[in-house]
């Protein structure tokens, strides 16, 4: 049997195995915020500050018609939630960078854990605080005229979790390829993050922009995600939600394929 043949029959971990392993990877990562709760408190304050300072400006600068008849808050809050998810899960690789520099990544790589669980577990850790953050800011906004649909919001957070696995895996892969050149990671992450964010209508309605921006937004998976969250936060489930779920699933699939290739490339 040649080496190539051997590789083709190489055992792949089953789904149960991946879920099992993901749980442990997730738990290990969660120990960091749990052992140091201050980081959690700050992560709760940040979105509130953003919502409190940017929200009022948005309302008076853009004007109500651009929001399709909704209150500014109802329109803006889902965007903030997507933004937190975006910032959080795209940081997955940055936490990995420290572990790449010491030997702890290698130590974990030498355990029997499946490779995809390493990425999924880490991405979910960046997503987990979002559940608390999302619910908290929703509750805080109720007195200001925000209508809270708990089940819809929870479903919206699950979609963001799926998207987060994909983005987290891409971030993980980016950290691996930029190993020993850490600045590349930050350069790429920042350069991609802002255009993606603006072209999805997270902060300002894309409808208010020129046609080329609207066209560009069709090719941005984040657009579908933001639309889905807006639909769900408004208490509806429709085509936007489905498209958002699809965009999240495609991102997750692409992210995991790229991530696993990056891990395997590292052992070549």
């Amino acid at each position: 049997m040649s080496v190539q043949d051997v590789r083709d029959v190489a055992k792949k971990p089953g789904l149960i195995q991946v879920l099992h392993d993901t749980r442990y990877v997730f738990w290990r990562e969660m120990l960091l915020p749990l052992r140091d709760p201050f980081s959690l408190i700050f992560s709760l304050i940040q979105p509130l500050v953003f919502l409190g300072l940017f929200g009022p400006l948005l309302g008076s600068a853009v004007g109500a018609p651009a929001f399709g008849g909704q209150s500014t808050l109802q329109w803006f809050l889902p965007g903030v939630v997507v933004m937190i998810a975006l910032f959080g899960t795209s940081m997955t690789g940055s936490n990995l960078q420290y572990e790449l520099m010491t030997g702890s990544y290698e130590r974990i790589l030498a355990t029997p854990l499946s490779r995809s669980s390493l990425m999924i577990g880490r991405a979910l850790k960046e997503w987990a605080p979002l559940v608390v953050q999302g619910l908290l800011i929703a509750l805080v906004c109720i007195p200001f005229g925000f209508v809270f649909y708990p089940l819809h919001v929870l479903f919206g957070l699950v979609i963001l979790g799926i998207f987060g696995i994909g983005l987290g895996a891409l971030s993980y892969a980016l950290a691996l390829v930029s190993q020993n050149k850490e600045w590349i990671f930050w350069g790429v992450q920042q350069t991609l993050l802002f255009p993606l964010m603006i072209l999805s209508g997270i902060m300002l309605p894309i409808e208010a922009g020129p046609d080329w921006m609207k066209t560009a937004s069709w090719f941005n998976p984040l657009t579908y995600l933001v639309n889905a969250e807006r639909e769900l936060f408004a208490g509806n489930i429709g085509s936007d939600t489905l498209l958002g779920l699809l965009a999240a699933s495609v991102t997750a699939a692409v992210g995991l394929v790229v991530g696993i290739r990056a891990i395997n490339r590292n052992i070549r």
Binding site: L31, R107, A110
Partner: protein
């Protein structure tokens, strides 16, 4: 425990192929303690990384703990322990948390992992540091934690990559004490890489000398030294009687080089004398009979460094010649 056949690893660096490991055959039986000895860049860590599935072989086969590294790498990883060159503990994590999670990664349940962690913390003098974050540990403490992590799941086969690099002599001795105790208690098979010849010499029963990606010697340290190097004999005679023993010492060196050095009316000869301790008394008598009595004598047993010099013409400590 380990069987490799023509195990090869090529790296491509700037479109040039570098042959890091050139088809090595290694067989390690259960319970053995084997050291891969060689200068930096010799291919010993690359070999170790292929055996632990952290690198994929370019060609050849390797079976580790009964499992083919190419067919079921996760299966190999489940059966071995690995202590790498770096520190295994995540900087911001607590010692006990990392140990518990390590146990869980290997499928141990919480009760077993907790018991094992306490046992290891105690035997590695880490009990008081269990709740400390890794970044606050000293270098020696971190290395002991690495050993604790590597032993959490009580592997039958343990790989150590440069286990004592950068450690002070006391910590090194300490580390070895723990490894040896574990081996005595559990019969663990141990494979390590080192470029400290004294470490390979004193700790390993078997030394595999690797240079330029090839195995150039594989035997016990004692036999390697006896067969390849011989004792270093330095003997001084009065300058006027030196000509009388030159031929005699040349024959004793059996074709080896005899260095000569004149100072203060004495000539000192230095040569390699296989089985020196046994042959030296007879040699002294012959020198006496030849009218050139030895004024002083020094006999040094060979080191693995001498073996490496004999095998490659280079000094181990100078490292690889690139």
């Amino acid at each position: 425990m380990i069987h490799t056949r023509k195990l090869t690893k090529n790296f491509t660096v700037k479109k040039e192929t570098v042959e890091a490991v050139k088809g090595v055959d290694i067989d390690v039986a259960p319970g053995e303690l084997v050291a891969f000895l060689g200068p930096n860049g010799a291919g010993k860590s690359t070999t170790l990384r292929m055996l632990t599935t952290l690198l994929r072989p370019t060609s050849g086969t390797a079976t580790v703990a009964g499992v083919d590294v190419s067919v079921d790498p996760a299966g190999v990883r489940a059966r071995i322990g690995y202590i790498g060159q770096g520190n295994g503990g995540g900087h911001s994590f607590r010692v006990i948390d990392e140990m518990m999670m390590q146990g869980r990664f290997y499928g141990m349940n919480t009760t077993d992992a907790a018991a094992r962690a306490q046992e290891l913390l105690k035997s590695l003098d880490l009990t008081n540091l269990a709740k400390r974050t890794v970044i606050k540990l000293s270098g020696g403490q971190r290395r002991r934690m690495d050993v604790a992590l590597g032993l959490m799941h009580s592997p039958r086969l343990l790989f150590l990559d440069e286990p004592s690099t950068g450690m002070d002599p006391q910590n090194r001795a300490n580390l070895w004490e723990h490894i040896m105790r574990m081996r005595a208690e559990h019969g663990t098979t141990i494979v390590l890489t080192t470029h400290y010849m004294d470490e390979a010499d004193s700790m390993s029963e078997r030394v595999i000398v690797i240079d330029h990606g090839r195995i150039i010697a594989d035997d016990t340290a004692a036999r390697l030294k006896a067969n390849l190097a011989g004792d270093l004999l330095a003997v001084e005679v009065a300058a006027e009687s030196a000509p009388g023993v030159r031929g005699l010492l040349g024959r004793a060196a059996a074709g080896g080089e005899v260095q000569e050095n004149t100072h203060d009316g004495l000539v000192s000869f230095r040569l390699r004398l296989p089985e020196g301790a046994r042959l030296a008394p007879a040699l002294l008598k012959e020198m006496n009979d030849a009218g050139a009595p030895a004024q002083s004598l020094e006999l040094k047993p060979p080191t693995l460094d001498d073996v490496f010099l004999e095998l490659t013409g280079r000094n181990l400590r100078e490292g690889a010649d690139r």
